[in-house]
């Protein structure tokens, strides 16, 4: 199923030109409090009584940010970043949000949450409990998840109108963005007033990337001789390759589309490189 998704995406973008290659421009990776990152995330917190009152109990240990707001459902405590004019993907690019989250307990409703709004004010808002993901603006549960553990989520879109949600590497839902009023920003954390939760974040990041392209293993937007050495490294030293090209789509090296990057991809890679 995932392969079909990528193939569909590639097909949709086949006629589009490659605009640019960017690394993640928004990331929290657990190395410090989000407000201490460069650029800093803005902490937006408060409770029923207003901003900068209350807030969740927060700890940062071993790269994991834990929120505990179970003592007060009126608490909100989230992070946000504004990127005016820089959210939407151009031709040949894909918007990607990735985050790793464990919602250990949620009381009252879905909490925590994550979302963004595009440069044209189209957005997605997701809220979580221990067993499901709720699309706030679509008013529906869009996926169920296994409780009691971290899950890695990915949401991506090439047009900022529709999106796909993946959980632990598998596509679980497709949705439509809703129009709001705010533009060009991202948020995540204990987002909901009226619900309380105990939850843990490993990372959260938002990116515009060059769209996946078979064989483009250095992710510069083209398949050419500059991909040879990265391709060899992807085969011989996968972890080193990932360290070298963390922004690259893993599927780019799977040229024969069998689900893995291995020696079976060599001949198709060479053929694609030579334009055969």
């Amino acid at each position: 199923m995932r392969r079909l998704t990528w193939v569909a995406l590639l097909g949709a973008l086949a006629s589009a030109g490659i605009a640019r290659s960017e690394t993640y421009w928004i990331e929290w990776n657990g190395s410090d409090w989000p407000e201490n990152m460069d650029p800093p995330w803005i902490r937006n917190w408060g409770n029923w009584q207003g901003q900068y009152q209350g807030g969740a109990y927060r700890t940062l240990e071993n790269g994991i940010l834990t929120y505990d707001s179970l003592y007060d459902p009126g608490v909100f405590d989230s992070y946000e970043m504004h990127r005016p004019g820089a959210v939407d993907p151009g031709p040949g690019e894909v918007f990607l949000a990735q985050w790793k989250l464990w919602t250990e307990q949620a009381v009252g409703w879905y909490d925590p949450g994550l979302g963004f709004q595009s440069d044209q004010a189209w957005g997605v808002g997701l809220a979580f409990d221990d067993t499901s993901v709720f699309s706030v603006y679509e008013q529906s549960v869009i996926a169920y998840i296994e409780p009691g553990q971290f899950h890695e989520f990915a949401l991506w879109s090439s047009d900022m109108r529709s999106y796909q949600l993946d959980v632990d590497g598998a596509p679980v839902a497709e949705g439509s963005m809703s129009q709001g009023i705010s533009t060009s920003w991202f948020f995540w954390g204990d987002c909901v007033q009226g619900a309380a939760s105990l939850h843990h974040w490993d990372f959260a990041r938002f990116a515009v990337l060059v769209a996946p392209q078979s064989g483009d293993v250095n992710c510069d937007g083209t398949l050419d001789f500059a991909d040879i050495n990265p391709f060899v490294q992807a085969l011989s030293d996968p972890s080193g390759y990932q360290d070298m090209y963390p922004m690259c789509w893993p599927s780019n090296g799977d040229v024969n589309e069998d689900g893995t990057v291995d020696f079976g991809d060599i001949n198709p890679f060479v053929a694609a490189l030579l334009g055969q």
Binding site: N44, W48, Q51, G115, A121, S182, T183
Partner: protein, 189 residues
């Protein structure tokens, strides 16, 4: 003459440039029974709710409420909604804009009371409730306002704009008769 769509778009664009994450929605009477996710409010239970949206970067320090919605699981009863600034903070206009109010649900009597916004109202979707009983004050209305009963001295003329036509309300009976000044009516404004 600018079309209504273009004017709405311009208003939306102006608003969107100002909206930010410092936007804070707050219910200032101390009521419980609602939830807020960023710029969306859900009402979960009958009661009276008075919301405001503030933003230190917004004009007059006001922010936006994109949606005020009645949760599908709200029990039977009466819901009254205001958008006003907390009197302890000076009172008056409660938000820069309110994008949508949808309070329609069988078994819940919903009443929009005073909704005062400095820029616009209904810029995302319609305003829907059983009754409007208060003052709707805004320079711009983007979408229809649909209520079963217009039960306050809120006249069509005051909330219509030059590019928005008004349709004559159709008479409709109601067990409890509203004030003679406004009559029982179904208003689609």
């Amino acid at each position: 003459m600018l079309s209504r769509a273009l004017i709405s778009l311009l208003a939306l664009g102006w608003l969107s440039g100002l909206a930010s994450g410092q936007n804070l929605i707050r219910e200032w009477t101390g009521a419980s029974g609602y939830r807020i996710f960023e710029t969306t409010v859900w009402i979960d239970a009958p009661g009276t709710y008075k919301f405001q949206a503030t933003d230190p970067n917004g004009p007059n320090g006001l922010g936006v409420i994109d949606h005020i919605l009645l949760d599908a699981n709200c029990p039977e009863g009466t819901v009254n909604v205001y958008v006003l600034r907390d009197p302890n903070e000076g009172g008056g206009y409660g938000a820069k804009g309110v994008g949508e109010i949808n309070l329609k649900k069988t078994g819940v009597e919903t009443n929009i009371m005073d909704v005062l916004t400095t820029v616009n109202l209904a810029y995302l979707d319609m305003i829907q409730a059983d009754t409007i009983s208060g003052d709707i004050g805004t320079p711009d209305i983007g979408n229809d306002i649909t209520v079963d009963y217009l039960g306050a001295p809120t006249s069509c003329a005051t909330i219509c704009t030059p590019w928005k036509s008004c349709t004559a309300p159709a008479a409709r009976s109601r067990p409890a008769s509203p004030s003679p000044a406004t009559g029982a009516m179904r208003a689609r404004i």
